[in-house]
């Protein structure tokens, strides 16, 4: 059975390199991702109001369709999609009344929502299904000498009920980096919010967050960051422009999606188009380490 794949809004645009690299990596690992049909926006942020089911509909509709298309598991790359879809599912399934109402509302859909499709983040597939040992066997170009900070942000570890690893002390991404032959560096701000959607209304706040997070990583010895959230990636990478303008002593740091580095380590070709989607040019660092 192929793994269903839910892209979400940004994977087709600003985070195209995340999607491309992930698809290629999974193909190579023998677990190709199959994009589900007819998907819509996941809702981006889970609504935490208890009394407004309308706000859960986007998520549930996606899950219903995935269910109908026969996927037992729906994989997301984006942390936010993971979080929103999974929480919406738990919230609706936890209460029969909610389930009934949501189904009544979606009367035009072919079948009723039952909640049989699991929402899984790609990192969990890599660790639990494919296993890091297996990935290690396939590494052809180890990320030797590359010190990488894994930035988890919020949505992979909070709320704790759906954390993909220990919610206070996760190691899954560092383990992945080690698997790829690099050095996963634990840095203090790796679970701290980047400011998220405040980037639209409170740019200053996100700029300061970026400043603190990147500095924290640098102080711990990181040369680059990896993430799995396009919003984090935007704040941590693109916002380094404003950060550099505001803090003159600030020195920049490349930010990758974890799948880009996987692609390199597994011997796939570094796609020049990916570079265009980065704000801080990662090529010099990759060249310096002899990776491209």
């Amino acid at each position: 059975m192929k793994l269903g794949y839910f892209p979400g809004c940004t994977l087709k645009t600003n985070a195209k390199h995340f999607e491309d690299s992930a698809m290629q990596v999974m193909e190579l690992l023998g677990q190709p991702l199959e994009e589900m049909e007819n998907w819509i926006c996941c809702g981006t942020v889970f609504s935490m109001t208890t009394d407004d089911l309308m706000l859960q509909l986007a998520s549930i509709r996606n899950l219903l369709r995935a269910e109908n298309q026969g996927y037992d598991e729906l994989v997301t790359l984006c942390s936010m999609c993971y979080n929103t879809l999974k929480r919406a599912k738990e919230f609706i399934l936890n209460d029969e009344e909610n389930l009934r109402k949501v189904n009544d509302f979606m009367y035009r859909e072919e079948a009723k929502f039952k909640g049989t499709t699991d929402v899984v983040h790609l990192l969990s597939i890599l660790k639990d299904r494919i296993t890091f040992d297996e990935i290690k066997n396939k590494v052809t170009k180890p990320l030797t000498d590359l010190k990488i900070g894994a930035y988890y942000g919020c949505l992979l570890v909070r709320p704790k009920e759906l954390a993909i690893d220990d919610f206070e002390d996760p190691t899954i991404m560092e383990e992945l980096v080690d698997t790829l032959g690099g050095e996963g560096v634990v840095f203090p701000y790796r679970l701290e919010c980047c400011g998220a959607y405040q980037t639209v209304t409170e740019k200053d706040v996100t700029v300061k967050r970026t400043y603190e997070i990147i500095n924290s990583a640098r102080n711990a010895g990181c040369e680059a960051l990896i993430t799995s959230c396009p919003l984090c990636a935007f704040n941590l990478d693109q916002r380094q422009k404003e950060t550099s303008e505001e803090f003159l002593e600030f020195s920049t740091m490349p930010v990758f999606y974890f799948t880009e580095l996987m692609a390199i380590a597994l011997g796939l070709k570094w796609n020049k188009d990916w570079k265009k989607l980065h704000y801080i040019n990662p090529v010099p660092l990759l060249k310096e380490k002899g990776l491209i």
Binding site: D166, E168, D169, V186, P188, S216, N219
Partner: protein, 651 residues
């Protein structure tokens, strides 16, 4: 037929306002068996008791029903009244018309009716009551004290000084518990070891005390006043009588392990003395870490020991003792600090626990009492203390307040300040709990005169930057988020029942609360007794407390145990199970159901017998017996039948 007196209590307004006592009196007047009836404001008062006595005398009553509050409160009061009037106290029944009636109902009609039924059932039961006499057994005049911390030590000394023998069992190689690890003690700042070691020596020297270290209780059988104890003592590879403390063995031992007495801040050998003032004063061989008990594996220490104190062939021993009372004083452990990963313990050497800091402060500790931080041995110039580490956090850790950490943290800050004059201590706290004698003064003085800065808020995270520990907290009083670059962070860990306590609870099947602390028989009125008769509780095994409270409680437990030890006999309620030999088929189904091991099949007569002292009257065997041979005294099937009939008839 028995002539029965019925006495209905108003309990002030507690009963009277919901139950129509006047009407009850009239309605029950002619009930079969009732020879006398009255109601009165407070039956338990002196005049109330006199009413009962007078009525018994004047009406030649054979038995009495008191309709009042729960028997847990005044059963013994009214039993005494019967006894004084020359009646057997088991010819008295309580009809509980307060807790089971007036307090739980509002409708007067219905409540009055229910009260009437309750009283009638009591009358019916009383009609078939036998006169019973308490069961008695002799008392072994010796106590067992489990745990050799300050609580166990105090209890043992009190009992021994009163002239009774004490067996003390301590798991570790020396007594002393946590108190021996402490530097100075709040609020008076006297040196912990200076005040404890005399007591430890006293334990060793006391003619009435027998001490077993490296030992644990394997089992306790028997019953109050007559316990059979099996103690397992780990093999004594070093003979305490021969060892002359020369220290030659440690020099040759090649093994290094973290020193638990120093909370892992230094190392010790596999053969070692726990600390200089250890009692008993002898070296100990730690089998778990020793390379192997044979000359081929290592054998260096035995070779070196000129006193020939080391014997690799020693074996574990089981020692049996008989005692009358048991005091449990198995103490506490710190809450596992690994459970709070956001504070970085284990990741950063300069985040330490409060007990580690005690060792750093202690003159006998790894730094000789000078304050150096573990990572690089520098004197910390800014030090942060984090209170409530693990405590008061029902969502993730402990729901309760650990009670001692507010005070010991303040002590830490003060002692730090006394050693590092230009240093700055900060204390993150949520509330300061300083409700002991001289405690509040201790706090006030520190804040105004010693330059200790309290910051009100819980710390969110601690991480390292350069050689500083960054502590991120909050001052909720000013509404400001706080960041401190500290050189050393001390976590004021909460406390939990010790591991040894958990183990013991499993072997003894003693009651604990949901946190694992030993349960007292009554939270207010019987705080040092266990619900299991003959067991008494002392110190932190029963709940978080400091030394003054531990010592008071230990003396309290000793006093309770002494009451038992100084009686020649113990008495036991006769409301227990019996066996009708004619009906018993010898199937022995009941034997397995008894939780107290009180039933046994007599192989000769093929009839089950009851050990009257062991039987607690729980009734398990009675419901299990298929032949109706097992009966509870004064709660026979016939009595229960009659009571049910009253209730079922609704009249």
């Amino acid at each position: 037929m028995k002539k029965i007196g019925v006495f209905i209590c108003h309990c002030g307004i507690n009963i009277k306002d919901t139950v129509d006592v006047e009407r009850l009196t009239i309605e029950l007047e002619n009930y079969p068996g009732v020879a006398y009836i009255e109601n009165y404001m407070f039956m338990c008062s002196d005049p109330g008791q006199n009413h009962i006595q007078d009525a018994i005398r004047e009406n030649k009553l054979d038995g009495v029903v008191v309709a009042a509050c729960s028997p847990t409160l005044h059963e013994s009061t009214f039993q005494a009244v019967l006894k004084e009037s020359g009646l057997n106290e088991y010819q008295m029944e309580i009809a509980n018309i307060r807790e089971q009636c007036s307090w739980v109902h509002t409708d007067i009609e219905q409540a009055t009716h229910k009260a009437k039924l309750i009283i009638k059932t009591a009358i019916e039961k009383l009609k078939l009551n036998e006169s019973l006499y308490p069961v008695s057994a002799p008392v072994t005049k010796k106590a067992l004290v489990i745990g050799g911390g300050i609580s166990g030590i105090q209890a043992a000394l009190d009992i021994a000084d009163a002239g009774f023998e004490v067996i003390m069992v301590e798991k570790k190689p020396s007594i002393g518990g946590h108190m021996i690890q402490l530097s100075e003690t709040f609020p008076t700042l006297d040196c912990s070891q200076c005040i404890l070691t005399p007591k430890m020596v006293a334990i060793n020297k006391h003619k009435n005390i027998k001490l077993y270290v490296n030992s644990e209780v394997e089992s306790i059988d028997g019953y109050i006043g007559n316990f059979n104890v099996k103690i397992k003592q780990k093999a004594l590879y070093v003979d305490p009588h021969k060892c002359n403390l020369c220290d030659d063995c440690t020099e040759v031992c090649p093994v290094l392990v973290p020193n638990e007495q120093e909370e892992g801040l230094s190392w010790r050998k596999a053969i070692y003395i726990p600390f200089p003032q250890a009692i008993p004063a002898t070296y100990t061989l730690d089998l778990e870490n020793c390379l192997g008990l044979e000359p081929i594996a290592c054998g260096k220490c035995r070779e070196k020991c000129t006193a020939e104190a080391i014997n690799y062939d020693a074996a574990d021993m089981i020692i049996e003792e008989e005692v009358g009372a048991v005091i449990i004083a198995t103490g506490f452990d710190l809450y596992p600090v690994e459970n709070i990963p956001e504070y970085g313990y284990g990741k950063y050497p300069d985040v330490i626990t409060s007990l580690q800091f005690e060792r750093i402060l202690s003159a006998t500790g790894p730094t000789g009492g000078e304050i150096y931080r573990p990572s690089d041995g520098k004197v910390p110039k800014e030090i942060v203390f984090v209170q409530c580490s693990g405590s008061r956090d029902p969502e993730h850790h402990l729901s309760y307040c650990s009670k001692i950490c507010c005070m010991y943290t303040l002590k830490h800050a003060k002692l730090y300040k006394h050693k590092v004059h230009n240093g700055q201590p900060y204390i993150f706290y949520i509330d300061i709990r300083a409700g002991g004698k001289l405690y509040e003064e201790f706090v006030q003085q520190a804040v105004s005169e010693e330059g200790i800065l309290y910051i009100r808020g819980k710390v969110a995270k601690i991480y390292k930057e350069g050689d500083k520990m960054i502590v991120v907290g909050m001052d909720t009083l000013s509404g400001k988020k706080i960041e401190i670059k500290a050189d050393l962070v001390v976590l004021a860990m909460g406390i939990v029942p010790s591991e040894g306590s958990h183990d013991l609870v499993k072997t003894l099947k003693i009651n604990t609360d949901d946190k694992g602390f030993l349960s007292e028989a009554h939270p207010k009125l019987r705080p040092v007794e266990s619900l299991q008769a003959g067991f008494y509780l002392a110190g932190t095994s029963q709940g978080p407390r400091d030394i003054p409270d531990s010592v008071s409680q230990a003396s309290g437990a000793a006093a309770k145990a002494l009451i038992l030890l100084s009686s020649d006999k113990i008495y036991h309620s006769p409301i227990i199970a019996s066996v009708d030999e004619d009906l018993c088929s010898g199937c022995a189904i009941c034997v397995g159901t008894c939780p107290y091991g009180a039933r046994e099949l007599n192989e000769v007569s093929k009839v089950v017998e009851v050990n009257e002292i062991l039987c607690e009257g729980c009734g398990a065997c009675i419901s299990a017996c298929p032949s109706g041979a097992a009966q509870q005294k004064n709660l026979t099937d016939d009595q229960i039948d009659n009571m049910i009939q009253i209730i079922a008839s609704g009249k």
